[in-house]
Subunit: 177 residues, 2 copies
Amino acid sequence: MSPDAVKNEDGKERNPFPNSFTDEFRYTIDHRGRVNFPAPFRRALSDESKDRVIVARGMDGCLLVFPKDVWEQRRRDFNKTPYSPQQQRRLQRLLSFGAKESAFDGQGRITLTPRLIELAKLKKEVLIVGMGDRVELWNPDIYEQYISESDQTVESILEEYLTRPGTDMGESADKAV
Amino acid sequence: MSPDAVKNEDGKERNPFPNSFTDEFRYTIDHRGRVNFPAPFRRALSDESKDRVIVARGMDGCLLVFPKDVWEQRRRDFNKTPYSPQQQRRLQRLLSFGAKESAFDGQGRITLTPRLIELAKLKKEVLIVGMGDRVELWNPDIYEQYISESDQTVESILEEYLTRPGTDMGESADKAV
DNA sequence: GCTCATTACCCACCATTACCCACATTATGG
DNA sequence: CCATAATGTGGGTAATGGTGGGTAATGAGC
């Protein structure tokens, strides 16, 4: 499966990795709760989600930003879970609890509600971390703390996976065009 | 045309070993944090990642440079690990910690952030080492130090693997003489 | 209906970045 | 041995991206 894409009909080059977010940015929140959304991430957004994202509570004290189409997909996925309809509804509500849909302003920023800011204990600065098809917002201090708590075991696991040449887990060799 | 490229039927150059990096290079970082990326390595990049790489923290004090498609593959692989969701999240975050996506400029250079430069203790010079599907950046002094620390055990292991049958060279070397 | 608080849209500034050109040096080919 | 291309290094400059603030629309409360 490579949803990788096609060029646009207007000939403009499109991102070959839609909704794929990598690396970190450090921005400031202004007194109105506005946070810049990294320009590379904006460009990486799929056409369907060009201007709309959902900000929700994340795990371990961060906030999550989903492109709208990814969010909808997640929501639909709950219906495929083996749980009862009651439990599925509960899952959906937990997911949406505190979530806020947000649009970009002319400068590419989103506005966080006071509630979300409080949930993530955000102060003046935000760390924005690309995590594949979603983006995490962190209080930099908490993130630092979280990272430093990683024990030796996790780090050696990471090391092993990083150092492993090519991956035998995923299918490789589908490079032909 | 370069010796490490072959021609496709359509006449375009294509590398027979995409995302395969060998050999060492020694370059300088300029005052803007720009480092040249070896021309043979640029040619070795897969078509998908021709223009984009990710620079991340590596083990033992070096930096890692991944072609974007390799990086994405690694990231997806974490979700297939037998570990708990919490651990998977931690792995993903550890992987992304400090990571920066970068594009090549017209001269084939990437720019390193001050943070990455500091992490790897890079001064004026960088040693660039091909390590299979990824590339390592080293402070040459630290690399030298690291190599010299290899003890007798490691060296004898290397010796054994170098001379072990399994390659034509090793085999014939064993039987000849 | 009116007022006030909140939100959304707009413009302005400026540091940083990316793009461009220039040149020195090395490899390549005749 | 010279000519030519390719590669590594440095720097100027226009464009982008991040930040702050003014002002018009929106909506809630009285």
